[in-house]
Symmetry: C2
Subunit: 306 residues, 2 copies
Amino acid sequence: MSDPRPIGVFDSGVGGLTVLREIIRRLPAESTIYVGDNARAPYGTRSDDEVRRFSAQALDALADRDVKAIVVACNTSTAVALRDLRARYALPVLGVVRPGAVTAALSTRNRRVGVIATPATVRSHAYFNAIKDENPAVEVYEHATPSLVPMVEAGRLAGPDVQQAVSDELAPLLGTRDAAGEFVFPLPASARIDTLLLGCTHYPLLQPVIASVVGDRVAIVDSATATASALAELLAVNALEAPGTTRGTAADPGRTGHDAPDEQDAEAVHVQHTTGDVARFRSIADRMFGTAFPDVTAIELEEEAA
Amino acid sequence: MSDPRPIGVFDSGVGGLTVLREIIRRLPAESTIYVGDNARAPYGTRSDDEVRRFSAQALDALADRDVKAIVVACNTSTAVALRDLRARYALPVLGVVRPGAVTAALSTRNRRVGVIATPATVRSHAYFNAIKDENPAVEVYEHATPSLVPMVEAGRLAGPDVQQAVSDELAPLLGTRDAAGEFVFPLPASARIDTLLLGCTHYPLLQPVIASVVGDRVAIVDSATATASALAELLAVNALEAPGTTRGTAADPGRTGHDAPDEQDAEAVHVQHTTGDVARFRSIADRMFGTAFPDVTAIELEEEAA
């Protein structure tokens, strides 16, 4: 059994493209439809009611396009609206918070996990709650890193100034820095985090810089990778995989590899829609990802039927 | 939206009870029906065709009892029959291999994962393939530990002789032991596993002993916990959670805790069926779990309709 229908991916803006990128990398046989509600982004400053309403409009648009599953690749929408959205559709709806949180909770050895996210996500405590739900014994240190999203959207992903900005933002989580600018760890080992969860969809683009700042002793878990992995399992479990899928079937001992990428790419179709300015979406996406997402078109979201 | 129907759990024998235990612990509002095909266990020595046929019969029995999702808590059946079983039912069917494999792949820091399992599971390379599917860069060291299942079923879960037996079985994965019986690590740190995956449903009962043998430097991932966690997410994503569920909804910032266990336990019903001798099933289960699973009754599995 297989299902060739596309996967819907929704974000308030461009950050969800990191999730989309992981989905395409992991599940090359799957087609995707992305909706970015850039005209009304960011959602972090919207009321809960607005977030619920806007999210439902975007998911209505995806459901109208006959998607087989939906990924809510927006932390704010996941934190505020996921429960309502799941009740609204007879489709599997995957959020972006729990997969990363579960991975972090299962990955930590010393039960100390740091979470970096936008101020709105930190205020929602969505990651804190999801990690505690998985394992109440894990200590969770949430920390807002507001300067990172604008930096990523400006295409500043590497270099000494980026390194410095990331160091500054992470310092409270990691320890302090000495006069030479090196991190020192006055904290006893037992008080240090050993796992850092990237709780914002923009942050995977800074992963190399973040990794060099936190060093080998801290494992980095990103929600984009964890969500793509959870989606792979979700499709397999619900018998929704696209024809030609070999991923996610490794438990079948007769199948060890992947189809040739050419063979799969020929079948998969990827389109991105934005409620905002197409040229602007494209230029931000180009700065962030190079030319990975060329097929951007406009979309209007309709008010949901009452 | 919620769904009060039970979750079906299938194993060839009693090992799947560790998965059942984790499901009950994690999802206290959910009812469960367990089928153990003890009359024809172990499946490890059966042909692939037999494993597929027996598994389909057991899942037919669960589907007839109107379960909302099925967990195949049997490594052999997952490795051999999962694909066919998923095609057979319009129900989510979760295997026991991939959740543990994904967790191990995401949890390792040095990309070296050890897997212990029965000889049949090791021969299937199900965990090897599933880990490689998640991350091809992870080195996977599979190792059969045949003496552990009989030990667990005899209720030998702790004590010096158990410690010794586990040490002996794990030695090839960990290094060698010196004259005093202490493990020494002639391997350079870069060649040591930092994550050990328990690839047999019996092994979580030996977790304390295994943890003391492998030491702090090796994280232990067990398939039972990982599968229960994946099931929680699966139910949430598919809007199949039982009424009263608070687990798996932590992304909703207004909900932080769990219902009182008493309140939930009152609603949930758990029954276990065996194709084998009821008294024998009960006595093995008692040795392994104390009196955790008292409601065992006989079941006959019918040949599937051709």
